[in-house]
Amino acid sequence: MDIFLQQIINGLVQGSIYALVALGYTMVYGIMGLINFAHGEVVMIGTLVTISVAGFMIKAGMPVMLAGMAGLTAAVLVCMALGWGLERIAYRPLRNAPRLTPLITAIGMSIVLQNVAMIIWGRNYLTFPPLLPKVDFEFAGANFTAVQVIIVAVSALTMGGLLFLVYRTKLGMAMRATSQNPAVASLMGVNINRVIAAAFIIGSALGVLAGIMVGTYYEIAHYQMGFMLGLKAFTAAVLGGIGNLAGAMLGGILLGLIEALGAGYIGDLTGGFLGSHYQDIFAFMVLIVVLMFKPSGLFGEKTGDRA
């Protein structure tokens, strides 16, 4: 039982991170029907900027918490600019092109960003400065750290904030209107370009937050870290129903739990036939089964009523 609880905690933490990244995919997809494959790279760059800035500040003798905040602020600003720049340079000129074109561009941007990061930060793994104090807890035989608690709490708060933004503010309403019918939203006075840019900027900021969580959790970062994280988060978004915010959140957490429980129990369930290296397969099998019965994902709207 303590092991089961431990796996649930593992999954919840991992899932919170997936959920935050998945929100970035789903926001952009919801508004402009584009899968921004470069989102994982934005997360990566945010993490690396934090390392550089916070690392520099700590070396300069700043208190760790303050350096962390400075790193976070710098990373969020850089990545908001990056998200905005991506949209402005890579996607806006292709707004009316066939859907495949911006998709290919997105993959291209992802490769470009990876290589730029490799040039700036090098090929080696970087260690993330320990921004949070190391405190361990034990509960019913399960161990967890303060970092894990903070990750889950910050994710929940951030997601709550995002839901408030989208469902309770004017900008949020404009975003939803734009996602449903951009031409008419424009007639109502909504500047579509600004709303789309806002989606990119907010999504990027969420991504940075997720990246910093990954950094403080694993204490390492690498120029290729965004790829797998992005892929998993994208899967989570599809699992929950891409374009749907609640879907992305639940999809992320679900994926984290499936992975943890899959890795923990798949060997025992199959009598050792499948080992823990099949944990990804386990996650994708769940995805396939869900999509078989609900092609638009767990919370996805039917595509028919997209105006």
């Binding site: 209107a177 019918n181 424009s186 007639l187 109502m188 006075g189 909504v190």
Partner: protein, 234 residues
């Protein structure tokens, strides 16, 4: 109030609107009638800047608005009720109406106007929290008109408000249009239902193959033999 001079609209190489010139005076309702494909909707879209004109000019209240950004047209005072309603299906009725007032900041006034819309269309009040996508076609048309009015426009552009609706519903909608017009709203109405349009409006233009072929008082046009033969099925 609205001056359209030599307006042209082209899709690729095909001319949909060939240099038309007309105007709408403040406080009047003008009908633009014509067969399917005559270029009526293109004209309206070009005025509202949903489409780029291929040539010609549009002046509104003396100001040239031919190059204004589409999302700024509503700030200038022009609201379009698009063909096919274009409600936001996954926004509630109230949110759709609120979207109409997107460019306004006066909360109290907006609340007043909301009540006014519910006054025009009591059906919308009943369905206030329902998603717009679940409404009937007629209710969606009501919502689209109400939403456009929420911006307090100076000029209301109506694109085929009767399209695809049951006769009873058409009646109800035109009742409201008449009330709004009577309250002093300037309206440019596009209709395939020429009889209804000419009965409602003061002046009319007849469009054929992208050109204006006939113009005059609505009552006169109603009696014009050519119009009667071509558009009133007589």
């Amino acid at each position: 109030m609205l001056e359209v001079t030599g307006l042209r609209v082209a899709y690729g190489g095909i001319q949909a609107v060939r240099s038309i010139t007309f105007h709408v005076n403040e406080g009047e309702m003008v009908a633009l009638i014509g067969a399917n494909g005559a270029g009526k909707t293109s004209t309206l879209k070009a005025i509202a800047r949903v489409l780029d004109a291929a040539g010609g000019d549009v002046h509104f209240c003396g100001e040239k608005v031919t190059l204004v950004a589409p999302h700024d047209m509503i700030r200038k005072g022009i609201a379009l009720v698009p063909e096919g309603r274009g409600v936001f299906p996954r926004l509630s009725v109230a949110e759709n109406l609120a979207m109409g007032a997107f460019v306004r900041d006066d909360k109290a006034e907006i609340a007043n106007d909301l009540e006014r819309m519910y006054g025009y269309f009591p059906r919308l009040k009943e369905r206030e929290t329902q998603l717009a996508g679940t409404l009937s076609g007629g209710e969606q048309q009501m919502l689209a008109i109400g939403r456009a009015l929420m911006s307090r426009p100076k000029l209301l552009l109506l694109d085929e408000p009767s399209m695809g609706l049951a006769p009873l519903m058409v009646q109800k909608i035109f009742e409201v249009i008449r009330i709004v017009a009577a309250e002093g709203m300037t309206i440019l109405l596009i209709e395939q239902n020429a009889k209804l349009a000419l009965q409602t409006s003061q002046r009319g233009y007849v469009m054929e193959s992208g050109e204006i072929t006939l113009t005059g008082e609505s009552a006169q046009l109603l009696n014009d033999p050519k119009v009667r033969a071509a558009y009133l099925g007589e």
